[in-house]
């Protein structure tokens, strides 16, 4: 029982489409901003995946003559004070952002779905207990929670992912719980029970797929905020450690001093962060319009 029915969505919108190309063209015309977002996200993902082919230099290699080189022929976006090529660092930075963003969103999603499904499906004391724990976790802003988590886990790539994933859990759990609460009263759940299906199987096979639409919308939004949070953590010195080229840390290294002398060190990493998050936000908005008709404006 799949609730995301693209064919139905397409025919409702009056599209007469066959094949992939015409479908993509249709979506582009219907959701131009969403298409721009999808394009940005695609470029970002491809950059991350093929970083080693795109980057002209090793992001960690240094060349003494290049210290603080201005953007030009040799160094497309200039070089930093440690003589490393900025363009290569930004290209490899996409890998870090994508890893942390996707990792944190998926981990938070899996934990949130498990907790939300259990809480909503089982109800009773388990529900009450979990909801109180979620209350506690939601009483701190995302960045503050991530900061404390990052500090208590210690700086590493994996720990940064966990530190950002945990604060994302309550939102996912709440969304899944509230859909589960209404879904478990539906006739198809009763029918599954009547034919002798186990409760756990019903929860996973019948209830979970029906919560997917809001989850995808939420996941895209969380991907953007996970990327921003990683940048903020690294900017504050509590995120990804050296030698990984993280966009956020590139800004903290270059901050106050280079604002005067080497503006390119401040501009380009920030553009990379903003553009990526902008793309995920545009895509998320379009997905919300497509998948969640109640929210449509």
């Amino acid at each position: 029982m799949a609730i995301i029915n693209h064919e139905a969505a397409l025919s409702r919108a009056g599209a007469n489409v066959t094949g992939w190309w015409s479908r993509i063209l249709f979506f582009t015309r219907r959701y131009p901003l969403g298409a721009v977002g999808a394009l940005i996200v695609l470029v970002f993902v491809l950059t991350a995946v093929f970083a080693n082919f795109i980057a002209p230099y090793d992001p960690t290699s240094t060349n003494a003559r290049a210290s603080l080189a201005k953007p030009g022929m040799a160094y497309f976006l200039g070089a930093d004070f440690r003589c490393r090529d900025m363009f290569s660092r930004i290209v490899y930075g996409a890998r870090i952002s994508l890893t942390v963003g996707l990792g944190a969103t998926l981990l938070g999603g899996i934990l949130g779905v498990t907790i939300g499904l259990m809480s909503g499906y089982l109800g009773g004391w388990i529900d009450l207990g979990t909801q109180r724990v979620m209350d506690v976790m939601q009483s701190l802003p995302l960045l503050v929670m991530a900061l404390v988590m990052a500090a208590s886990l210690g700086p590493s790539l994996e720990n940064t992912i966990i530190a950002i994933a945990i604060p994302l859990v309550p939102t996912v759990a709440r969304v899944v719980r509230s859909s589960t609460l209404s879904l478990r009263e539906q006739p198809f759940v009763e029918a599954a029970r009547a034919v002798g299906m186990g409760e756990a199987r019903i929860a996973v096979r019948h209830v979970l797929p029906n919560t997917l639409a809001p989850l995808i919308v939420l996941g895209t939004a969380q991907l953007g905020s996970a990327i921003l949070t990683e940048a903020s953590l690294s900017f504050l010195g509590l995120g990804i450690p050296e030698p990984y080229p993280s966009w956020g840390r590139m800004l903290s290294e270059s901050a106050a001093e280079y604002v005067r002398t080497a503006p390119w060190l401040v501009i380009f990493p920030g553009v990379a962060i903003s553009l990526t998050v902008f793309g995920t936000n545009l895509l998320g908005d379009a997905l919300r319009d497509i998948l969640d008709p109640r929210e449509r404006t």
């Binding site: 802003p141 503050v144 404390v148 901050a255 604002v259 503006p263 545009l282």
Partner: protein, 315 residues
């Protein structure tokens, strides 16, 4: 109502208690304690010296004892001593609160005066070029990291005014301070205004489709009157909620912005304390933030009831 409030207060207390346990345990998981850092930075490697420091700070005692000691003090208004400065934590924290509060207040003010009118315009002109422009603008507001926006502002002012508007010593007057704070506040507020604008827009669109709006139009009310007297008033309810959520959201923005603009507020102090493993400061600041968030949420729910007579909280 009375029993709703009692239940609500109990829940708030329970959440704060849960937060205190969570933050306490999480901080004790940190690899390396303040004794290690102090000893390392002083260049002492003597384990006896280290044990002495740990004993003085009370971090050699069982974790449960430490928790009881902290909470016992906290409920009596005693926040303990900061490890790094060795001064009472309250003396370190209290003077920084007004600075952050002013900054947050200004940022919230900016975000509301930018967000609400632009959201209304965007909804009224739905699907025009202006609407598209404003929607892209608000999305970009959500996408720019506020520390980068801060850095760009610093860069622009160096470029054009030849100076950096950062918080140096005590500002001379209240007006001076507000002017100095308004630049970072705008950087934080821009992001929040984007959220407020998006919500105002969708909430306005929802209301504009209602029957009573058509009635208002058909009885000949002017466009302005329909938009502002009939629609906006009803559309503002969810906006009040988002403003409440914003208050919590702003704290995140303050952390990075205070760092960029070198403002000696509580948010930047939290980061410094975390880096120094100054538990008494971190614990108490986190409790303060959680307290503010919980109280703001409560006030928002109360405001909701005051604004919409249909909403009653069941006993």
């Amino acid at each position: 109502m009375g029993s709703y409030l009692t239940r609500r207060f109990l829940l708030m207390a329970l959440t704060l208690f849960g937060m205190s346990v969570l933050i306490f345990v999480m901080l004790r998981l940190v690899p390396g304690n303040v004794a290690d850092i102090l000893v390392d930075s002083a260049g002492i490697a003597d384990p006896k010296e280290k044990a002495k420091i740990a004993r003085e700070l009370g971090i050699d005692r069982p974790i449960f004892d430490q928790y009881i000691h902290w909470i016992g003090g906290l409920v009596q208004g005693d926040l303990g001593f900061a490890y790094v400065s060795e001064r009472p934590a309250i003396e370190e924290i209290a003077p920084r609160i007004p600075i952050s509060a002013k900054l947050a207040g200004l940022a919230l003010f900016f975000s509301v005066i930018m967000g609400v009118p632009l959201g209304v315009i965007s909804a009224v002109r739905q699907n025009t070029a202006l609407d598209y422009f404003l929607r892209v603008l608000s999305l970009s507001g959500l996408s720019l990291p506020s520390f980068w926006l801060g850095l760009l502002i610093l860069m622009a002012s160096v470029q054009w005014f030849g100076m950096i508007p950062i918080y140096t010593n005590e500002p001379r007057s209240f007006i001076d301070e507000m002017l100095l704070l308004s630049i970072p506040a705008a950087a934080v507020g821009f992001r929040s205004s984007a959220l407020i604008m998006r919500l105002t827009r969708s909430s306005m669109l929802e209301v504009l489709r209602q029957d009573y709006i058509r009635t208002a139009r058909s009885k000949g009310a002017s466009q302005t009157s329909v938009n502002y007297d009939h629609a906006l008033r009803n559309a503002l309810l969810p906006v009040v909620t988002i403003i409440g959520i914003e208050a919590a959201f702003l704290i995140g923005g303050l952390i990075v912005t205070e760092t960029v603009f070198n403002i000696p507020g509580v948010a930047r102090f939290l980061v410094e304390a975390i880096l120094w493993r100054d538990y008494p400061i971190v614990q108490n600041l986190v409790m303060l933030i959680a307290f503010v968030v919980i109280v703001v949420n409560f006030l928002v729910d109360m405001a909701y009831m005051a604004l919409d007579p249909r909403i009653k909280y069941a006993d």
